[in-house]
Symmetry: C2
Amino acid sequence: MYIPTFADMLVAHERIKPHIHRTPVLTSSYINELVGAELFFKCENLQKAGAFKARGASNAVFGLSDEEAAKGVATHSSGNHGTCLSYAAGRRGIPCTVVMPRTAPQAKKDAVRGYGGRVVECEPSTSSREAVFAEVVAETGAEFVHPYNDARVIAGQGTCSKELIEQVPGLDAVTAPIGGGGMVSGTCLTLSNLAPGIKIYAAEPDQADDAARSFRAGHIIADDAPETVADGLKVPLKDLTWHFVSNHVTDILTCSEQEIVDAMKLIWKRMKIVMEPSSAVPLATILRNKETFAGKRVGVIITGGNVDLDKLPWQSN
Amino acid sequence: MYIPTFADMLVAHERIKPHIHRTPVLTSSYINELVGAELFFKCENLQKAGAFKARGASNAVFGLSDEEAAKGVATHSSGNHGTCLSYAAGRRGIPCTVVMPRTAPQAKKDAVRGYGGRVVECEPSTSSREAVFAEVVAETGAEFVHPYNDARVIAGQGTCSKELIEQVPGLDAVTAPIGGGGMVSGTCLTLSNLAPGIKIYAAEPDQADDAARSFRAGHIIADDAPETVADGLKVPLKDLTWHFVSNHVTDILTCSEQEIVDAMKLIWKRMKIVMEPSSAVPLATILRNKETFAGKRVGVIITGGNVDLDKLPWQSN
């Protein structure tokens, strides 16, 4: 297991700069008053392809040798990683294949294809996904880029908090949602080197709190099929992300489904940005744990903005 | 009739800087490809109180002498101007009264009150509004700040395109929605002095095209009660805004209701920002008139983000 280094993150940032936005940091006086802290929202929903995953995917794609790149890249993901890998591959002009259950939303398949990637469908089971993915790799020789348990991906995600601390001096804490732990691992990698005094909080739905339980147990606990509106956060930790989470995270806080939806609507309404349910989880946990953040300067990573505008979660309530 | 000068706009910018955001300019590669031009979206939906009207209202409020200010300010508006005047008055710690039809949406009344302003209800007719407003002014001695036909307000709105051309060099054109013409007049004031080569396009719904018809007729034509999803754009031009529109606007372009809703959804989906139907009108007119903008660098003013998240226009389709 190769653990990405601080130098890898710095190299990643130079490598991906032409392919990503240095996303803005937004604030809301209203939300600050509500929380009793100063929150600085790092808006990765405004990132290329609509999610921070454009960072890790771009680092993986542009770090390949020409020979490797010619065979293309492949992944299995029905979320933002598939779209972002397709985006990055499209920028380099190389093939990208994304294996997705045939039951995945049409919009997700369209998003991959929109950047030039190829979608290969599997049955909605782990065994089918693994079998189909193995075929794709055997056939193409493509480089597998895992959504999060990948040193190149984690180094890429780490560039987000590097920008954040350049944009906002004097932060006391940073918080980000945790699913597989790619963003949180990148945050740990960067902050433990550049600003070890900054506390790192991971935020998770009560209904998919496997990372919080892992954190308390001291080993990875993976749930079978958690159900939450924060659909980017259903996947489990893996060895590489567990390394960072177990060594550098201050705490993992959780919140209810209703708190997620309320925080999401609050951000849309007051900050005028479109973001995913997963991205609302940090604010939901801050609102539940105000005393932890009282008077502090807190960076909050808004991880993505790819949401179905025809089916907003507060409208099905 | 006092016509605001370029110097008034410069004074306004210094005066209001502590009270407004220098809003970011966002771009979308996807929309640029679709249009065949380079669009630069000046995001006043991210402005204080959610609309560019915080600029003009702040200029009016902070330009008052202490003696005038003590009596407060008043206006009639069921839209963003009422909210923004309340915001600015709250920042100065002076009273603000907004006369609104009792039928206005509860959210609009709440928004005024949220910043500390007082709402006085009238019947939904011009005669009732005028009578009630006269009573308020007689009783309080408050300074009337008109939503747009006011030199202080126009000078304030002009600060938006000053920032825009500082943020984006080499623009060929700027486009903004037109209702009463406050933002377009401010844009004319600034650009005619700072960058007279930049073309100015006003954008209007087909169903409320009184400004376009006025522009072609050479005199103000006011409609009775136009119906459009772009509810910020129903009001007519007045003498002061007509002065700027008739002298400096390049053209007024129009679009259909469906084109407005489609452009609004396109911006939400691709740019991940929450904005009002009125703010989508410029992009809708650009999409209808691609040849006019082909290959050009175009500033597009996103005027506001105050929208009912429970009732989005594409969901009633």
